[in-house]
Subunit: 453 residues, 2 copies
């Protein structure tokens, strides 16, 4: 065999491989939300802040600042390509064609990601993205994917070719064993949701390929728009906490501007339903999966029928912070209280899933409600016990990038954004704002659950 | 990345990849024995016969005859290359330089493997190699490696790229887990002995690389001359059953020629020691590892001191058919009976080893005798439970190639060759000859042990 010179040089250049290769390399729901934001909230500013919830890991000790900047700068150099925009415009999502109108596609064509702020403070990176919501919202996934892949590569930088071979063999075996267990248990409705926490772009691609191969009809698609496009899969996902968080913060901001009135609190409270109404209108009755836990699922459900009666026509709920067994029981009871058969409604689990939990949830609930699974970190970044040297540097960390501040660009007023969630550990926002929100939303059904990934 | 055209075409040509790539791609002890035979037995003819001891597997149903012939013919097209001969002549083996004299190297340079006989009989391949011992002895390893790799490739022929990825990931993980267990248990003296039973040439190469990486000082080398040369490792091995089998058969033949006398039986009996004497002289007191089980270890040891007193200077014994715990106890007692400290003597286990057995043997015996391990099939061909489709076609089979007939080329007389071994299941030879040998050697210490690999 003659030397493959191109391959050899390419390998030697490996460190310059971009971690994010396309602006499509993001969760599809970011594009849906970007459209929603672009259409309804052009004058809203936000700050997204990266937070490493795994305190034991200090990222600057692992990933050099220059490397991080190089990759973030690379993302800023990317543009949506012509063929990507054609796909977004021409493809049908969830059976619906023409989700994105031409002027939004034109806005994407013009998009360059804005600048970021990065500094090291108290031994940890402080990374923020501040400015117009539409432009800055997309940073979330790219930033997380970049940091996670930078961390992976750092952990592998001094591994020999042999060690890398064993590492990936172990990870492959581990992944496939999980998939075979899922298939064996006939778990259905599994989607790949691990872009932000992935080990790396190419590994995610392999994970999706493996899911396709092993799960058969149990696999329904990926949240990643680029992989969905390239591999001809369904792009999965609807919306995230940033919508109710920001829209509620806007209501809060309005109330703060001329002395608080009781109606302000009501407006804050109602925002969690208003966003659903607006979503429904935007997407003509499609993509109707609600995220009930932003300010606590229990209060959301208790008031849903009176505050947002149309909820009964929604496809279902996505769970992101509640004990999944309790959450599913709660939803089953909720649908029944509306006189709806829960078996026609989607229960999309998406919090800290792994194969055993999915199998158990599927076994327990599949005959009672339509189960779906958004499988993230443990699909695309489970290298635990795979390092041939026994190291733990490739273990995933709990890294998030959340809206922390919301600004009215017309008035200049700003306020901290809040998520309460169903888990005290996952609550985010300034303390005084959290307290204010708790007064409005209460804490019924909120628990203390350790966050692993 | 541009297309690697050479790689693509090479991959498309994969089926023409030779399974044996060099005449050096054999067990080193075949070369030692070839020299011994060339020097002392130029007028002896033998027949080697391939035997598949795994009755459940019928090879012609798996490997087409044309494919087998193509690969065997390819072996016939090979010659020792100049650099290979330089290495054989210039390298030191077991610390001794110049093991092979120039005229033997010249004989190797002239060597072309002679023709083979191949037919399908009763649903199984009948493959034999008949002619001068020196030329035909080398066929053994090439033939076995060819058949085993042909079987592996057949089992993988319809696997997708994904399935192959998972298959090799599983096999890699399995191998490395074994190696880590061996390292953890601090097992020493492990050599790779799996050429004849290997999954394939390149996999064997990887296995050796993995053993080097993982076992550290516990790894002592490989039996494969080509891998030893290329990877700068110690070539391990001394001699095999074919020597006592053939030399004893020659004594038997002589006795048959002019009516049997009691001295003929004595001559047959003494052949098992005569071969050691001759070996010792040939290699100037080096490479002294004896194989005691050809006609039963117990009788061999009982008579060794009186029939071959020099045994006390030998390095040790290789075990190939006896329960290894019993065998080791027997050797420890033997060395002690000679007044020799067993801790100075090598106990080389080489029968059906896997990591658990090696760990247990090492734990039990390493403080009492110097342990060594010739790890074969379960090192280079353990793909059990690795097939992503759950198939068993890649499981190893028990394939051997043994001397079945010995001929005096001067007189034309011939006789069946016999191995009794310490395991009734492993006895080979014509029934009446086995009976004759049993009368001479007895059956003390012989047991019935199922043969797995």
């Amino acid at each position: 065999m003659t030397t493959n010179f191109a391959q050899r040089i390419h390998n030697a250049n490996y460190k310059f491989d971009p971690y994010v290769r396309s602006l499509m390399d993001t969760d599809f729901y970011k594009l849906l939300m970007a459209y929603f934001i672009w259409k309804h909230y052009p004058d809203v500013g936000v700050t997204f802040t990266v937070k490493n919830r795994t305190k034991a890991v200090k990222l600057p000790a692992i990933v050099p600042e220059a490397q991080l900047r190089e990759q973030l700068d690379h993302v800023r150099s990317l543009r949506f390509t012509k063929s990507e925009l054609i796909w977004l415009k021409g493809n049908s999502f969830y059976g619906q064609e023409g989700i994105f109108p031409g002027d939004f596609i034109a806005a994407l064509a013009d998009l360059q990601l804005p600048d970021y702020h990065l500094e090291i403070r108290d031994g940890e990176y402080h990374i923020t993205f501040s400015g117009t919501w539409f432009e800055h919202t997309l940073w979330e996934i790219y930033a997380l994917a970049v940091i996670n892949e930078a961390k992976s590569r750092a952990a592998m930088a001094d591994m020999s070719k042999y060690e890398l071979t064993v590492l990936y063999a172990n990870a492959t075996s581990k992944l496939v064993a999980k998939l075979k267990a899922l298939k064996e248990a006939d778990v259905r409705g599994i989607a790949e949701f691990g872009t932000r926490r992935r080990h790396g772009f190419l590994w995610q691609e392999f994970v999706i390929e493996a899911m396709q191969e092993e799960l058969g009809a149990g696999f329904i698609g990926t949240s990643n728009a680029l992989h969905a496009m390239r591999m001809d899969l369904e792009a999965i996902g609807t919306n995230a906490h940033e919508l109710p968080m920001t829209i509620t913060a806007l209501a809060r901001l309005e109330g703060m501007q001329d002395g608080e009135k009781p109606s302000d609190r009501h407006s804050v409270f109602m925002s969690q339903y208003r966003v659903l109404e607006q979503w429904e209108q935007t997407f003509s009755g499609n993509l109707l999966v609600a995220l009930p836990d932003t300010f606590g699922s229990t209060q959301f459900l208790q008031n849903a029928e009176s505050c947002f009666p149309n909820i009964e026509h929604w496809t279902g709920f996505r769970e992101d912070s509640k004990d999944p067994y309790i959450a599913a029981e709660e939803k089953i009871a909720f649908w029944k209280s509306l006189g709806v058969d829960p078996r026609e409604k989607l229960q999309l689990f998406s919090d800290g899933l792994d194969h055993k939990l999915m199998i158990d949830l599927s076994n327990k609930f599949r005959d009672r409600i339509r189960c779906g699974f958004g499988w993230g970190t443990n699909a695309t970044n489970d290298f635990r016990d795979c390092d041939p040297r026994g190291g733990t540097d490739l273990n995933p960390i709990s890294l998030v990038c959340k809206v922390t501040e919301v600004k009215d660009l017309k008035t200049g007023g700003k306020v901290g954004a809040v998520k309460l969630s169903d888990n005290y550990t996952k609550a985010t926002g300034p303390e005084e704002e959290i307290a204010y929100y708790r007064e409005i939303f209460g804490a019924e059904g909120v628990a203390d659950i350790p966050v692993e990934v």
